[in-house]
C-alpha cells in the first residue's frame, strides 16, 4: 500500500520520446487506470514505476521516498504482464509461489502452501496447480499471472492489459471478476488498458495518455462529461461522440448555435452557465459534441428537426447504431435492434442542445458543457471528497 508519484518523468529510447514530462499522483489504495491508444507509452510508464527502466529526467516516489536508484526487486511491486511472462519450466503452483521463494520476500513452506491455495481458489485455478504453462489456455495463463501478483503484499499492483488477449466473452467475465476483486484488493493498483469499457468500469480515476503525454486525469464522470479536449471526448464513449460544426449567434439577447445547415438554429438554455463560457471563450466557431445515446430521431416529419437520410444501420449486440447523413456530416445514434429501416430513408433528428459539450473549433480545447445536471453531480462528488 503506497502513494505513488511520478514527477516530471521523461523517458527516451534513442530519438524516440516514450514519456514526455509525465506528472501523476496516485493515491494510496486507489484503483488508478491508465488509458490510451496503442503506443501511447502505457507499458513504459509501468516499467518506470517498477524500476525496469530508468527515466532520463524526473523521479518516481513511493510514499514520498525517491525510488530512482532502487532496483525492481527491492521496490516491492507486483506486476501482471500483458503476455503473462510465466516461467515455462515451472508448474502453476511454482509460478505462483515464485515471489514467496525469492530471497527478498521469502516465506516458509507452510505459508507458501496456504497462500498459493488461497489465491488459486479465488481465481478458480486450484485444479490446475500441477500443470505447466504450455498446457494452459490463454484465460488460465492470465489468471496464473494475476495469481503470482496476488500472493504478494506489495506497495502497488501494476497490471498491463491483463485481459487484452482473451476472447470477448472471457474478457467480459474477467472484467466483473476484477471489479469484485478491486474492492477487496486493499492496495494501490495501476491498471493499463486501451479498452474504454474496462477503464470506466474499473477505475476510481482515469489518466488519459497519448504519445507519451498525460492529456487528462479524472473520474469516469469527469472524463465523460468534461473531457478536456476533442481527443479525450472521442476516446471515451461507445459509440464515438458526434462532433458537429457550430457557430454562436446572438439575437436580441437570446443566444443560439447554428449547426449543420445554414439557418438551423438551436436555442441555448436561457441564463445557463454555458452561455457565459462561450462568450468568454473568445471565439464563435465550435465543434459541438453530442453523445449518440442522447440524439433522438423519428421517421415522421416534424417541425424544428433536422432532415437527413439513413446512411447505415448496424447491430452492436443488444442495441444498434443508426448513422444518419445530413449534408456531408454524419450523426451516430443508438437504436433498438429490431428497428425496421431502409437505407436512404428519410429520418428526422433532434440534437439535445441541453446535453452538449462545446469545444473550441481551432484549438479543440474544452469550453464547457450545457449538461447542468452532470455539472451538479460532479461538483457534489468533489465536495464529498474534500477537494476544493
Amino acid at each position: 500500500m503506497a502513494k505513488i508519484e511520478l514527477v516530471n518523468i521523461t523517458k527516451r529510447f534513442g530519438k524516440f520520446t516514450a514519456l514526455d514530462n509525465v506528472n501523476l499522483e496516485i493515491k494510496d489504495n486507489e484503483f488508478f487506470v491508465l488509458f490510451g491508444p496503442a503506443g501511447a507509452g502505457k507499458t513504459t510508464l509501468l516499467n518506470t514505476v517498477a524500476g525496469l527502466v530508468m527515466p532520463e529526467e524526473g523521479v518516481v516516489k513511493f510514499n514520498d521516498e525517491i525510488m530512482n536508484k532502487v532496483d525492481p526487486s527491492h521496490r516491492n511491486v507486483a506486476m501482471v504482464f500483458e503476455n503473462y511472462a510465466l516461467y515455462p519450466n515451472l508448474t502453476v503452483y511454482e509460478n505462483i509461489a515464485s515471489p514467496l521463494r525469492s530471497p527478498l520476500y521469502k516465506k516458509d513452506d507452510a505459508t507458501i502452501d496456504k497462500e498459493v491455495h488461497r489465491v488459486a481458489q479465488i481465481l478458480r485455478i486450484d485444479h490446475l496447480l500441477e500443470r505447466l504453462p504450455s498446457q494452459l489456455s490463454n484465460g488460465q495463463k492470465q489468471r496464473v499471472a494475476i495469481g503470482r501478483a496476488l500472493v504478494r503484499n506489495p506497495n502497488v499492483f501494476l497490471m498491463d492489459e491483463p485481459i487484452a488477449h482473451l476472447d470477448a466473452k472471457l474478457r467480459h467475465h474477467m472484467r466483473s471478476e476484477l471489479k469484485e476483486m478491486q474492492s477487496s484488493f486493499n492496495s494501490t493498483v495501476i491498471y493499463v488498458t486501451h479498452d474504454f469499457l474496462e477503464a470506466v468500469s474499473l477505475g476510481d480515476r482515469i489518466a488519459i495518455i497519448n504519445e507519451g503525454k498525460i492529456i487528462q486525469v479524472g473520474t469516469r464522470e469527469e472524463v465523460y462529461y468534461t473531457p478536456c479536449n476533442e481527443f479525450v471526448a472521442s476516446l471515451v464513449g461507445e459509440p464515438e461522440i458526434n462532433l458537429v460544426d457550430g457557430r454562436l449567434i446572438a439575437d436580441n439577447g437570446k443566444y443560439y448555435v447554428e449547426v449543420l445547415q445554414k439557418g438551423y438554429m438551436l436555442p441555448l438554455p436561457e441564463n445557463s452557465g454555458i452561455i457565459k463560457k462561450l462568450i468568454d471563450s473568445g471565439t464563435t466557431e465550435y465543434h459541438i459534441g453530442f453523445r449518440p445515446n442522447n440524439v433522438k430521431y423519428t421517421f415522421e416529419k416534424k417541425e424544428g428537426l433536422l432532415r437527413g437520410t439513413v446512411y447505415s444501420f448496424e447491430s452492436i449486440g443488444n442495441k444498434a447504431v443508426l448513422i444518419a447523413k445530413i449534408g456531408d456530416q454524419f450523426l451516430r445514434m443508438i437504436a433498438p435492434n429490431d428497428l425496421k429501416v431502409k437505407l436512404d430513408q428519410d429520418v428526422y433528428v433532434e440534437l439535445p442542445i441541453n446535453r452538449a459539450t462545446f469545444f473550441n473549433a481551432q484549438t479543440t480545447q474544452f469550453i464547457g458543457t450545457s449538461d447542468e445536471a452532470a455539472i451538479y453531480r460532479l461538483v457534489q462528488e468533489q465536495l464529498s471528497k474534500g477537494v476544493q
Binding site: A50, F81, N83, Y87, P88, P99, P103, Y105
Partner: protein
C-alpha cells in the same frame, strides 16, 4: 497415375538407399574388420571367425588408453571452460546493446574460420618459449578457438528465444540479476546448452592440427595417435581398424544424443532447427 507414383517412389528410395550405403558402409566395414584376425585378413571378405585379438593388441598392449585419456582431458576441460566463460558472453550479446556489439560478435565468430595453420605456426613458436608446448594447458587454451565461438553463437540464439519479460517478472518477484540468471534463465537454456556442449566436445575430440603440432609425446590425443597405427605397422590392418573404431565411437554416441539441436549447433545458430 498410381503406377507413375509408385515408380517415382521406388526411384527415390533407391537413390536414398545408394547414398545410405555410401555413408554407412565404410563404418560398418571398419567395425567388421576390427574383429578379423591377421591370418584371415587377406583371403576372406565378409565371412570369417571373429576374434578379439586386435582389441587386445591395441587396447592392452599399447598406450592406447593413454591417448584416449589425453583426448578426454583436453576435450572435456576445453568445453567446460568455454561454457563457463561463453554462456555469460552469449547472454551479453543477446540482451545488451552496446557499441561495437555486432563487430565483437563477428570477430568471435571469425576465430572459427581462421585457418588452423595460421594460428598453429606462430603458436608453436610462442608455446616453446613460454613452456606451453606439449602441455594440457597449452592445448586446452588453443582449443578455445574451436569451442568458444560455437558455444557463444549457439547459446546466444537460445537466449534470444527467451522473452525478456520473463527476466522482468523474476526481478519484480524479488530476484537480483544474478539470481535471475542462475535460477530462471539457465534452466531454460539447459537442453540447448547440453547439445551445444556435446557438439563442441565432438569438434574438440576430432581435432587433428592442434595436437599434431602443439604437442608431442607427453600429451597425445587419439586422432594424432591413430596415425601412428598406419605409419608403423602396415601389416596389422585389424589393429588399425580398432584404433579407428574406438576413436570414432564417443563422437557417434554423442551425436545420437543431440539430434534435436544438431542443426542449430552446426550452423552456429544461423539456422534454427
Amino acid at each position: 497415375m498410381r503406377r507413375k507414383r509408385m515408380i517415382n517412389n521406388a526411384v527415390k528410395n533407391g537413390l536414398l538407399a545408394l547414398y545410405a550405403i555410401f555413408a554407412l558402409f565404410p563404418l560398418f566395414w571398419m567395425v567388421l574388420i576390427s574383429f578379423k584376425s591377421d591370418a584371415q585378413m587377406f583371403n576372406t571378405t565378409f565371412f570369417f571367425d571373429p576374434t578379439l585379438e586386435n582389441y587386445e593388441a591395441v587396447l592392452l598392449r599399447t598406450d592406447y588408453f593413454k591417448y584416449f585419456f589425453d583426448s578426454v582431458i583436453v576435450s572435456v576441460i576445453a568445453v567446460l571452460i568455454s561454457v563457463l566463460a561463453g554462456v555469460p558472453a552469449a547472454y551479453a550479446l543477446a540482451r545488451y546493446d552496446f557499441k561495437k556489439k555486432e563487430d565483437l560478435a563477428f570477430t568471435i565468430l571469425s576465430f572459427r574460420f581462421a585457418p588452423e595453420i595460421l594460428v598453429v605456426l606462430p603458436l608453436f613458436m610462442i608455446y616453446q618459449k613460454i613452456g606451453l608446448y606439449d602441455t594440457y594447458f597449452g592445448l586446452i587454451w588453443v582449443y578455445q578457438l574451436i569451442t568458444m565461438p560455437l558455444l557463444i553463437w549457439v547459446i546466444r540464439g537460445y537466449f534470444e528465444d527467451i522473452s525478456v519479460e520473463i527476466e522482468h517478472a523474476a526481478m519484480v518477484d524479488g530476484y537480483t540479476w544474478w539470481q535471475v540468471f542462475l535460477k530462471r534463465l539457465l534452466p531454460l537454456i539447459k537442453p540447448g546448452l547440453v547439445s551445444a556442449s556435446l557438439l563442441a566436445f565432438i569438434f574438440a575430440w576430432n581435432n587433428f592440427t592442434f595436437p599434431l603440432m602443439l604437442s608431442g609425446t607427453k600429451v597425445e590425443t587419439i586422432t594424432v595417435a591413430s596415425l601412428k597405427y598406419i605409419a608403423s605397422d602396415t601389416v596389422h590392418y585389424g589393429q588399425m581398424a580398432v584404433a579407428a573404431t574406438v576413436s570414432a565411437l564417443p563422437a557417434v554416441i554423442f551425436a545420437l544424443l543431440i539430434q534435436k539441436h544438431l542443426v542449430r549447433g552446426l550452423s552456429f545458430g544461423a539456422v534454427k532447427g
